[in-house]
Symmetry: C2
């Protein structure tokens, strides 16, 4: 259909737009770990137990990271589904996507505020704004795509969906920001449980945002099935829910692996810059440093070794993932979910590398043992996820 698309200048196939969105979303999901990192002062002062276990704040912040990750992933999942059903874009859809991506990329900033000053009303209102923007952009896109399908060339795959299906979609997109808006409202109520109730609302909004509406829709479809013997509705919603595009899952996964593998070198670069760039005039150091370029590298040898180590580990896991995906003929929803969980733990690798470097040259406590145990547990979990995924592909495909 290339000729027709090129004849009507306003429409184009959306592969490259999808790849661009996948890349940006993968970067956003990976950046979310940044505020969890410990500064070198924190690591020098306290043992790893003091920094992680004994402070309830860290657990809360870790849960925050997980919910943020799944929030971004579910936005990506919706994005994939919309483009699966309507694989043609025009300029308006493109701009909607840019607004969507802009709002998405502000999420790490909001999460940094959440990490630093906690879930207080002002922060929650700030978090609400990009969430609403994302939901509005996606709602507009699905409404517009469904409305403009008549103007598309007929041979391009585009389903006809009724008001109810599209209505449920829009409702599910808008439900997360609505839930999130409840949280700051509740904080104004004069009750001793307000913080607790409010944080439940935040967690539900981020983790299960659209799931509630989907459950309602299932009830509705079952009602139609038993009341009017209307089986088509259930088939239609299954089209929306089970839609998984293998190439897009691969793109998103590749993006996360590539960024996790290289983001550690960015930290290393910054660390070395800070170490050398203590006074202002750049090159006056040159004479003193002549013998010391190796010394600088030697001083940050743990950082560099840890970088090489993490890079090779990430590449190894990428290779395993690549080999598994090589055998997938038909990607199912369950495989996608398992793969996403594996990605979550891949995103934690930069954090593990950060604490390993921080405690590598600290003597006096057994923090390093704990850190290495944590690192290895993380790698073990990723490995287990890959094995389960592999078994699913190998034996579940029959």
């Amino acid at each position: 259909g290339k000729e027709l698309i090129q004849a009507k200048h306003t429409y184009f196939h959306s592969e490259r737009l999808e790849a661009f969105c996948d890349a940006v979303l993968a970067i956003v999901a990976t950046i979310l770990i940044t505020p969890l990192k410990l500064s070198s002062e924190q690591m020098q002062k306290y043992t790893i137990e003091d920094n992680l276990y004994n402070k309830p704040e860290f657990i809360i912040r870790f849960i925050l990271f997980i919910s943020g990750f799944f929030f971004i992933v579910s936005a990506w999942d919706r994005h994939m589904k919309i483009f699966y059903i309507y694989p043609v874009a025009d300029n308006f859809i493109l701009w909607l996507n840019i607004i969507f991506l802009l709002a998405c990329s502000v999420i790490p900033l909001c999460f940094t505020l959440l990490h630093l000053i906690g879930a207080i009303s002002s922060v929650l209102v700030i978090l609400f704004v990009p969430t609403l923007l994302m939901a509005l952009a996606q709602s507009c896109q699905i409404l517009y795509s469904n409305w403009s399908r008549h103007s598309l060339p007929s041979h391009i795959h585009s389903e006809l969906f009724g008001r109810t299906i599209i209505g449920f979609r829009v409702a599910s997109y808008l439900f997360a920001p609505l839930l999130l808006l409840m949280a700051p409202v509740i904080l104004y109520i004069d009750s001793p449980y307000r913080v607790f109730i409010s944080s439940i609302f935040v967690g539900n909004a981020l983790l299960f945002g659209d799931k509630y509406v989907n459950v309602c829709e299932s009830f509705y479809s079952n009602y139609r099935k038993f009341r009017y013997r209307d089986y088509t509705y259930q088939l239609k919603i299954r089209k929306f829910r089970a839609a998984v595009t293998k190439s897009r899952v691969e793109f998103f996964t590749d993006g996360i692996f590539a960024i996790v593998a290289t983001i550690i070198i960015l930290d290393t670069t910054t660390e070395i810059t800070n170490k050398v760039d203590l006074n202002d005039d750049y090159l006056s150091l040159a004479e003193d440093m002549n013998v010391n370029a190796y010394a600088i590298l030697y001083e940050s040898r743990f950082t560099i070794l840890s970088y090489v180590n993490s890079f090779l580990i990430v590449c190894l896991f990428w290779f395993v993932n690549h080999s598994i995906f090589h055998y997938i003929h038909h990607m199912t929803r369950l495989m996608n979910v398992l793969n996403t969980f594996a990605q979550l733990f891949v995103c934690i690798i930069p954090f593990c590398a950060n604490i390993m470097v921080g405690y590598a040259n600290k003597v006096g406590d057994d923090s390093l043992t704990v850190v290495i145990t944590l690192y290895c547990t993380n790698l073990f979990i990723i490995g287990m996820m890959q094995i389960i995924l592999w078994m699913l592909v190998r034996f579940g495909d029959r």
Copy 2:
């Protein structure tokens, strides 16, 4: 050919490996701008002219950035050519690529050292190591791919190349590290011009590394043409040199756009973290900060506005690029070069955003005017490159 590839487990199509390499290389090319950034103290102390124009160091560092960028791009270009000729990979090639990527991703670290302490012998030796590793990995890959082509299924496109062609390829890969090795050697010679000569060697190694060998090969092919009337050699080397895969150029371009668009939010996150995280205990601030979450955002309003601004500009340029590539049927070498130059200036956008934020709230000098002029000039150059690319696609294709 999917069945045959799957029957012989050891070989696989390399699309995903190529996409992963493109992503990592795009990140590496984008990170190179990091050491150029000015710290907020430097911007508070000096005017923009003092920071940029009046210091010869900045010009040198800027030239360094450009040569680093082109060094990474030429490594990517060679990578694209090898996979264009041999589009099938196996485990050995995959591991060679991982070593190649690891060496590539260490380049920004070496460049940071170059930026901070200048081109002294120890830094040059440190830069030589990853450069050599990259060249060795690519040499091994081309030798192995050419050698193992007999074991491939016959229907998979794989050219038969003689020793001379492959020899020239390997020589051109290894020439850049050899030139680079000359630079520290020259520094030990007792001559007043040693620094000058040495930096010429560095610049040549980074910018024109493999071009010299290619010129030699052209002479050789002309010699064969006139001496033995052997025209096939010229055709064969053209296959290697003119090979441009449109999809890979798109991937690399998308990668650079996606990272440039989002890397600024990473800086913003770090900045806000530093602003709030002044004392150690995380959540003790919560009470004081309750009214101040908006205040924090207001304080860094320039950073956030500049982020939104840069994001929209980058997306706009991505859109223009996307529209131009939509009309490209056959990608030529010249288009690729023009596109690469446009990418160079896209990579400078984070630097422009950095200085714009730094001088946004500084009163007393007219630095902001200079900064905005610089930013706009940069955008103008990107725009002009896109227009030239567009004219080339529109009128050169006939």
